[in-house]
């Protein structure tokens, strides 16, 4: 099912007769990867669903203008990370206006989430990831969970490979310290 190439999808998408079919193929190929990336960033399923739909609507609107000098999947990842971070920043602003005194407690949120089945170590790992600076968090998620190459990550995050390696190094060390220091 996912053996169709990105090139074929793009060609079909350019044809109005096969545009919707191409989009369906694109979604079937990438929806899970994009969803899980978003979910690991925003944590909550409903939030991830909203962000995921926004990502693919943006793809629908802008795929025509996609320049093929980069890979389709890094372009999708770029949109997904940007949308997720934008969503989180908006959420933080809302939270700081509405409930400024109550701290955001990820542990409680995960424990109450019916769509989270991790044990205590997994909860603490998510806490550790959430405590990272934005850039390090993105690098760690893409490398640790999505097993992305630094070169592809460089396209996605628009950062040099050296800087990405340093960010990953710092992220891993911080997470280890967080987990072993519990």
């Amino acid at each position: 099912m996912s053996k169709i190439s990105d090139q074929e999808i793009l060609e079909k998408f350019k044809n109005p007769a096969t545009k919707e079919a191409a989009f369906s193929l694109l979604m079937q190929k990438y929806q899970e990867k994009i969803y899980w990336l978003i979910r690991r960033i925003v944590i909550d399923h409903e939030d991830a669903n909203d962000v995921c739909q926004n990502v693919f609507i943006k793809v629908w609107r802008n795929l025509d203008s996609f320049k093929e000098n980069s890979q389709l999947y890094t372009w999708l990842y770029r949109i997904a990370t940007n949308e997720s971070l934008t969503f989180l920043n908006r959420k933080k602003k809302k939270a700081s206006v509405q409930i400024s005194t109550e701290d955001y407690d990820l542990t409680k949120q995960l424990e109450a989430d019916p769509y989270f089945e991790g044990d205590n170590l997994q909860i603490q790992l998510q806490n550790a990831i959430a405590s990272l600076p934005e850039k390090q968090r993105m690098v760690f998620l893409l490398r640790y969970y999505d097993e992305m190459k630094y070169e592809d990550m460089s396209e996605t995050l628009d950062t040099s490979v050296g800087a990405l390696k340093a960010s990953y190094h710092h992220a891993v060390k911080k997470i280890e310290k967080y987990l072993t220091g519990l």
Partner: protein, 384 residues
């Protein structure tokens, strides 16, 4: 596969601990979510397209945040800028724009506000009184009623009932019971209880004044003795019983001690002192070397007395016929002295250089009492 291996070995190098953590996905999605996601998203995208085609201006307004902009940092500084403007207006006396306060009040509203509020509160209180009056009435008139003068006559009624009951049971006339109960035979003076406290205090003060009077009396209280009476009293008594006062009372047979034996007595006391000091050293060493069971912490480590010293001490003990109980009793009666002896005899050389000396010193409470040494004093001593 190579990429996965590279990432795994990289992680293993950076953090062996994190490499052992299972990289599974703890997140879940509702059942059938991904099968419908594409269709749902496509529907939304198509609706969006239709809207854009039918109302391009309105749809562009939805993304107005891209079309309109504010200077950089505008919202961050908005509060401070507004506050600064207000302060400036206050300082310069410039009236703020009327539009800032679009609401108005009737003339004299604030001047009359306090008086109006008081009136409103009084009216409210009056209304509340009216509203709650029925509760008081209901409490007093709870629906039940008693005959007129019921409570006033209740006491007499009960006594009459009792008299009648007694008459029925005994056949006797008990009419005087009521009289006795109402007129007890004992009586107290008028205002007795009112004046009781004052009377008691007066009595107490009177009693306390008696010893003071006695102390003011002369020591001989008016009586005298003949001159030299007390000096001669003993002799007079002895004469009266026929015994010479100067004679030494016969208490037993006295045996003079030869000089050699007196010298031995002096030596005995000396040896006893030495033995006691050695015993104190031994006892002190034993007390300070108590090791608590189980927790593995050694409390205090002092070097034990040499075997020669112990043998010598034991020999002295046996030569002098002293028991351990004798020594313990002697030590307990001279605890302060022995504590100071221990302080003098134990010097820094007795303490080994090992780091086992801890501040967690726990001596036997009896030993602590015996030596009158606190834990802090021992810690201070060991630290020195």
């Amino acid at each position: 596969m190579t990429l996965r291996n590279d990432i795994s070995s990289e992680l293993l190098t950076l953090s062996p601990f994190l490499a052992t953590v299972e990289r599974g996905n703890p997140f879940r999605v509702p059942g059938g979510y991904f099968t419908q996601l594409a269709q749902n998203t496509l529907e939304i995208a198509l609706e969006d397209d239709e809207l854009r085609a039918s109302a391009p201006v309105t749809m562009n307004l939805q993304t107005a945040d891209n079309n309109m902009s504010v200077p950089e940092g505008y919202f961050e500084e908005l509060f401070h800028n507004t506050l600064a403007q207000l302060h400036n207006a206050e300082e310069t006396g410039v009236n703020l724009p009327h539009a800032a306060t679009p609401f108005t009040t009737p003339a004299g509203y604030f001047e009359q506000l306090q008086a109006n509020m008081l009136l409103a509160v009084k009216d409210t209180a009056h209304d509340e009184d009216l509203n709650t009056q029925f509760l008081h009435d209901a409490a007093e008139n709870n629906g039940f009623a008693t005959p007129p003068q019921y409570f006033e006559q209740l006491h007499a009624t009960i006594w009459n009932r009792l008299e009648n009951l007694a008459n029925e049971e005994t056949g006797c006339d008990t009419g005087n019971i009521d009289h006795v109960a109402r007129n007890p035979a004992f009586a107290i003076p008028a205002n007795y209880f009112e004046e009781l406290q004052q009377g008691l205090m007066a009595a107490i003060n009177e009693e306390e004044s008696v010893p003071q009077l006695l102390t003011q009396l002369p020591v001989n209280a008016g009586f005298t003795t003949p001159a030299g009476y007390f000096e001669q009293l003993h002799q007079n008594v002895m004469n009266a019983v026929g015994v010479q006062a100067a004679a030494t009372p016969e208490t037993g047979k006295t045996v003079p001690m030869p000089p050699a034996q007196r010298q031995s007595d002096k030596g005995f006391r000396y040896v006893l002192r030495v033995a006691a000091v050695l015993a104190v050293l031994f006892l002190g060493w034993q007390l300070l070397n108590q090791v608590p069971q189980g927790n593995g912490k050694q409390t205090a480590l002092l070097s034990p007395p040499s075997p020669q010293l112990l043998l010598k001490m034991e020999k002295m003990k046996s030569d002098l016929g002293l028991t351990s109980g004798d020594l313990t009793a002697y030590i307990s009666n001279n605890a302060e002295e022995f504590a100071s002896v221990i302080d003098e005899k134990i010097d820094a050389n007795d303490i080994p250089a090992q780091p086992q000396i801890t501040k967690n010193i726990k001596l036997n409470p009896e030993a602590m009492d015996l030596l009158d040494i606190s834990t802090d004093e021992i810690e201070e001593f060991l630290s020195e």
